[in-house]
Each structure stands twice: as structure tokens, then as C-alpha cells.
Amino acid sequence: MKLNILYFAWVRERVGHSQETVETDAATVADLVVELLQRDEGCAAAFADMSAICVAVDQELGELTTHLKDSYEVAFFPPMTGG
């Protein structure tokens, strides 16, 4: 399936870009992270500590175990600092 992936804040800076489309068979967010980790050094640096990263699937907050079936967008970012 085609997935739109977005990165924000320091995750974006480490990965090196803010958006990309990937072709993947990942069943869960965790599977997708494993694929991204193996790709290049930027992703490896961004995803080195998954406890420091949040995820949203189709614009709803999710978790590593969230399923990606029929999803169209996954976003990775640090804990939010609004207000």
C-alpha cells in the first residue's frame, strides 16, 4: 500500500525531510518503523529511541501497535509542546 509519511520538529530535522510517500506492507506502526530504521542514517538517528517519539495514524494519535490496514497517513513527532 502507499502511505504518506510526515515528520515534525526534531524528527523532521533528523530524517532530513518533512514528507514522503512510501510503498509498504507494514501491518503496524512498529513494522513501518523497522523498515524506516534500516533505510538510512537520518532515520536511524530519528528513531533510535522510540520512547521519545509519538505517532499519529490518519491524524489521530496512535501507538506502535496501531494497525495500518487501509491507512493513508502516518506522522512521527516528538511529544507535543502546545500552549
Binding site: 510526515l6 515534525f8 499519529a56 497517513e73 506522522a75 513527532f77 511529544p79 507535543m80 509542546t81
Partner: protein
């Protein structure tokens, strides 16, 4: 209920007047304003990034929860993004309720959730140093405290 995300500055007084004019049955109106703070004395800018496709929906969800939990008459959230300077207004919330306790608690609840459940990220930019603002353990503790509280 209004949730607005914008780059431009807003007129706090005009927003409060418009909000107040709509809530005829409220006896209490509470507002909070967040301002760019310069702790080090050397902050040039605060850059605020957000997730455009998600931000307004996230704000509306938090407002809906606050309105239901405290029986608010209405709520307003305006949050800016982009490059701001110290002293500039980042955001505001307003809550209206029949009585002050619910209006205060509603505003407090909105702020606790906006801090760690609305997709904004702040970066402090000084001449010789830039740093993403980190979330604090106390932010999550504040949310946990709300969910422990018995329903009113």
C-alpha cells in the same frame, strides 16, 4: 465553539468581546493568554511548528471534552504558529460557564490538554543556540490527574 489556528496575531480584546456576546446564559468568563517568555534574556525568536491537517480537529476534540466535563456554555481556543518574538501572544483560551468554578476548571483543563495533546512544537532560537522545547513529566502527570478525578 471556536478552534482557530493561525499565523497572524489576533486582537485579544475583540476576541473576548465577540465570545462574551455569544454566551447569554453565562455568569462567568475565564481567559488565559500564553506569551513567548524569554528566560535566558537572549531569546530572539520562538518558532512554532504544527501539523496542519490535524491541529484544528485536535483542538476541537479537546474543547468538546472540556465543554462536556464542566458543563461549559462555550469555549474558545486560538493558537498561533510560525516565527514569534518574546512578549508576543502565542495563544488564548476562553471558557464561559454559569459559575466561576467550572469556567476556571474548564480553562485549566483546556490548557493541560493543549500542552501535550495538540500537535504543536516550539523551538527557541537565540543567536548562538537553537533548541526544541521539551515536554515535561509534569505535563503528563497533569493529564493523569484529570482522568483520576471523579466525574462531576
Amino acid at each position: 465553539m471556536v478552534a482557530r489556528v493561525q499565523e497572524a496575531a489576533f486582537d485579544f480584546s475583540a476576541e473576548v468581546n465577540t465570545f462574551q456576546a455569544k454566551v447569554k446564559s453565562a455568569g462567568a468568563l475565564v481567559t488565559f493568554t500564553g506569551i513567548v517568555r524569554d528566560d535566558s534574556g537572549s531569546l530572539d525568536h520562538m518558532f512554532i511548528e504544527h501539523y496542519p491537517a490535524m491541529t484544528e480537529a485536535a483542538l476541537q476534540k479537546i474543547e468538546t471534552q472540556a465543554i462536556a466535563k464542566f458543563g461549559l456554555e462555550d469555549a474558545l481556543v486560538i493558537h498561533r504558529y510560525g516565527m514569534l518574538t518574546p512578549g508576543e501572544t502565542i495563544m488564548m483560551v476562553a471558557t464561559a460557564a454559569r459559575h466561576r468554578k467550572d469556567a476556571f476548571a474548564g480553562a485549566d483543563y483546556l490548557m493541560d490538554y493543549l500542552k501535550s495533546r495538540a500537535p504543536f512544537w516550539k523551538k527557541e532560537i537565540s543567536k548562538d543556540h537553537t533548541e526544541w522545547v521539551q515536554s515535561k513529566a509534569t505535563d503528563e502527570a497533569a493529564l493523569a490527574a484529570w482522568s483520576r478525578e471523579p466525574e462531576a
